[in-house]
Symmetry: D2
Amino acid sequence: MSKIPVGVLGATGTVGQRFVQLLANHPWFEVVAVTGSDRTVGRPYGEGVNWLMSGEVPSQTAALVVQPTGLDLGIPGNPPVVFSALPTTEAKEWEPQFAAAGYAVVTNTSVFRMSPTVPLLIPEVNPEHTRLIPTQRRENNWPGFIVASPNCSTTSAILPLKVFQEAFGVESAIITTLQAISGAGYPGVSSMDIYDNVVPYIGGEDEKLQNEPTKLLGEVREGRMMTAPISISAQANRVPVIDGHLASVSVKLGRRATAAEAIDALRAWRPPSVVAQLPSSPKELLIYRDEPDRPQPRRDRDAGDGLAWTVGKVRECPVLDIRYMSLTHNTLRGAASGALLNAELLVVQGFIGGGTELSSNGHQRTAAAIR
Amino acid sequence: MSKIPVGVLGATGTVGQRFVQLLANHPWFEVVAVTGSDRTVGRPYGEGVNWLMSGEVPSQTAALVVQPTGLDLGIPGNPPVVFSALPTTEAKEWEPQFAAAGYAVVTNTSVFRMSPTVPLLIPEVNPEHTRLIPTQRRENNWPGFIVASPNCSTTSAILPLKVFQEAFGVESAIITTLQAISGAGYPGVSSMDIYDNVVPYIGGEDEKLQNEPTKLLGEVREGRMMTAPISISAQANRVPVIDGHLASVSVKLGRRATAAEAIDALRAWRPPSVVAQLPSSPKELLIYRDEPDRPQPRRDRDAGDGLAWTVGKVRECPVLDIRYMSLTHNTLRGAASGALLNAELLVVQGFIGGGTELSSNGHQRTAAAIR
Amino acid sequence: MSKIPVGVLGATGTVGQRFVQLLANHPWFEVVAVTGSDRTVGRPYGEGVNWLMSGEVPSQTAALVVQPTGLDLGIPGNPPVVFSALPTTEAKEWEPQFAAAGYAVVTNTSVFRMSPTVPLLIPEVNPEHTRLIPTQRRENNWPGFIVASPNCSTTSAILPLKVFQEAFGVESAIITTLQAISGAGYPGVSSMDIYDNVVPYIGGEDEKLQNEPTKLLGEVREGRMMTAPISISAQANRVPVIDGHLASVSVKLGRRATAAEAIDALRAWRPPSVVAQLPSSPKELLIYRDEPDRPQPRRDRDAGDGLAWTVGKVRECPVLDIRYMSLTHNTLRGAASGALLNAELLVVQGFIGGGTELSSNGHQRTAAAIR
Amino acid sequence: MSKIPVGVLGATGTVGQRFVQLLANHPWFEVVAVTGSDRTVGRPYGEGVNWLMSGEVPSQTAALVVQPTGLDLGIPGNPPVVFSALPTTEAKEWEPQFAAAGYAVVTNTSVFRMSPTVPLLIPEVNPEHTRLIPTQRRENNWPGFIVASPNCSTTSAILPLKVFQEAFGVESAIITTLQAISGAGYPGVSSMDIYDNVVPYIGGEDEKLQNEPTKLLGEVREGRMMTAPISISAQANRVPVIDGHLASVSVKLGRRATAAEAIDALRAWRPPSVVAQLPSSPKELLIYRDEPDRPQPRRDRDAGDGLAWTVGKVRECPVLDIRYMSLTHNTLRGAASGALLNAELLVVQGFIGGGTELSSNGHQRTAAAIR
């Protein structure tokens, strides 16, 4: 049994560090290459990185020499796999080059999220969107491909929307978020801006929240992305909380439903069957709490090792139909762990790791079925 | 020139203390009686109170002996005037008795806010609602009366709604609030509950936010309250901020308007003319800020000595029509200062302070006009 | 292999809950009885408790019916074992009664910490102080006994003091602490008191910090406690941090030492050999960090599962001899986990659990040696 | 009556902005020139500055065009006066050039604080240290001069030390500070570093705290600085507080004193007589509070408009002699306001503003006496 070798692009930033941390004990993947900023290139990762995660730098990765971001990273595999945590401008420049050079690019960046042939992916929400990959390859004439994970604020609100879409249809939603400071990276938000304060603005966030769900909840038909016809109004706020994005959402449904029916739908929902094969997906993925004062960031963000959605306060809305509060851990489910789950899905579906004998609990490659 | 003597009921609690502090240098009122909890009765206020305001206990009030709440407070005036900051159960018991005994009761409590003949009052929003007072007196056979000020979260959102109602009509609104910890009084919220956290629940707050605006924006016709037919959906959240309630609001208008038209309406709006005679109303009452990241609690709560509304981010809403962010200082505009302004209005309108020669800047009693 | 049955007194408070949580998966102990407040007596623990720990109430304990605190708890064992998290007044009343009735009382309360025959115990610091137990039994004519763990602020500063005492002698120390809000329990500190603030006072804490180390660092000679002749000056402060007590300490040594020698002493120090047999004691117990800005509460409190000391900034002191910063997790090492370690020590030393076949990694009872 | 024209160097940074704000309504000074960063040069100050103070940019200053820092600022006066809030490297380069060009440089920067002929000045502590100015001019052959104000953490602890020095003598002190985030400027401390945390390190701060008091408490004899022979041990900590530096101090006195004597000394202390002529010095300069839990940053930092010292918890120290807690507002008393007071002192002493008819309350120039 061997692991799939992977690279991490932009490994010295906060999301890159999280990738390194999460991959350290991953059953299927192991890091064999890291790229980083000029300041760190040429030095062992463990020395060059300003490690902000808890615990120590994982020892195997610590010993890797930081490379400049480039196409000759020496990662074996067909396709070779890279996780991208590059800054936006570098992601724009490099991710297509990697795909063109044959890499599978699993990215957490925002650049290509809304590109029509790039799957915007949450395995538990829309695993079948990887059907865009062949189209993407063909249209760009790429041997490799890019898959993206959504913005962390989109993620916090999306799973209940998906459930309601399946159960009742969704026409529109009004979302106000209360987002944690860790979402801005490091050094990120100045303490002078956020202490004893709320900042009702996060650059570009409202647009992402208004657009990304239409893609996540859309359909791939004959290799083409059909976004869902849902109108969304979003107001993102930064609050003095370290981790955990909370969303207050009101929804206009396709057909009316009572709060009780909506809660039943949440409780009855089961993720797509492929999810059972993903080692990182938590046992309890969607936690509905009855208490009137939940979810709360500090008390609920770590549910399911930071990968579960905690939902509460489903009530009828006097203006639209149904409202709810939803929470996810923004740097785990909403960032690195989400992208890692995408990679696990790609393995199960056969897009990466071909020929590797994985230490799985007997998963079966279902790629044939999906492609 | 003499001042109007007033009493403060429940003067030892946080709102009561704020009344005492604000009244210390008021041009029209002076505190001559205070009531308080059993623990403090019989002691000089300055010794009995656990003073939580900044600075020292105002010296004149400090010397007053705390009385038990009762009808024989020895306050001169016709009617004698009391500000009520009583706990809810005591307010329910005592406020009607004071009105029945001939007092003008200016209350900050919630008990009678929605009573059909009690004016729910913000002088800058609906000063003409005092027309309910004669009805209230007649129906209850009271020589005195009660006027109430709204909940602090209602207050934070209401002024822009009023402006939009006048300009375009308002059909419905979805409100998510981010409320400060001081709104819960002292000791109020445990630090273990709110630090690094958001609590998406404040007991009774959503109902207040959904009901009170319909009264504030309603009309008094022939001495009867006609609430406004506006549907409101509210989700109140407690955030780790000391002072300042922020509201994220989306509005369905009576007729469509662009964001530019809505901003113009806010900028063009002028308060009712009677407001010019109120010594505490700030020079700039409604501040519209163009920056994309305002209003912010810490940076805007003290505008107009804590009595102004700061509004920002007026944008078109993809689901309803217009959205905005609005902020007020919850313990000043939203509580004690708001009630104090109500008392100033009652003076100008002739309901209290009759016969007193006030040190005003030449205000004219307009009571005849209003009644 | 069976476990040692134990009871938890005061199991519904925050420290009691922490005991329940920690004992849920303990290799040697299992909870068979819980006592709680009047409000909860007679109900299943899982229903009566207002659970404030992360995760859910452990299922076995959840099913136990809460009993009133009393001597007939039905705990088997010779002696039967109880962990005490009682409120101070109840601890004062009940703990001696339990000892008199034959129980081994492992307490986290402060009442008997300074009693001359009650061991004030940290297994890694002074495991031999259990030699006081026979004296305690004899003098009180008790079949059972009490052992106590120190105050959480004492704990944060103590281990480096112990190391320096062994290496150089310690004559005096000046300690300023920066303590977390969780130390005050729930609801504990009002958010209105601590947000954007420091409170330079914690009732009784300075005295505990000045007295307890003299006992912890003292000696038991011929069954008698000889406190160490160390003068301590303490100033305790509450800071807006959730968990983790930080101590700034300057020490007058018995003989001068350079900072380098002091750091060497910390790095070379090894705990008493009995510690290797305690399942909860962390692999790395004393972590010395070279960075100039460590230890920090949020980044270091969870080291060794909240049971390690993190020390940094050892420097020469221009006034006394050596200074340092030291940190522990106040509700784990400083409270419940510390008491649990005391119980583990009592097992290894043969004071409790006699006749039980434990699932240990081959530990040998060393009681004969210690007694 | 006219005002003394002044310039502000580095007027666009946070300390520079504070100067501009404080000078806006100053009775003696008015800003006629501002210098700023390249980005802002050539633009009106009101447009170029990223205003972080409360309220709006003062209108007169808003209209001034930002100049590059240079010697031809066109400030009238003999000497012309500049307040310096330059970054350290620029201060090092420019401040001596300004002095050489004939300017009176009133600086808040750290560069020349410990230079033997530069007065390190707090008017209420050591106003006679301006006697160094003639020496400074002579040795450097400068027509102008530099006076400096101490570090904000030094300031927080110093006034009680001064009082005790006068009353009993001071031999040594151990200081642990709890410092506010605003001390680091803007953006300053990352919220990810300080939220739910303490950082036991502020670059260079311990050294400043150990050195500056020896100069402030020293003597000028025959034009020479004689530092006080006091040993100080300092540990600076950053805590999550917005404004207000708190110091925990233990002192070895020249002769023993009880806590009561020390408190009496604080209460009996009166500032040097020249202080009565300084318009910004607060009526009550040294506030001693008896409550066991004061001073507190949020509750005491604004005392005396942010210019008073609040002291509490004077107790005997079991290791040294006396200990206390002391607090000042770090960006007011500890920075811009402190430097402004220095300028007021220089006016009264005749070093600046010669020939100006000031709107003072009949102050008399005492320069002859001091020189």
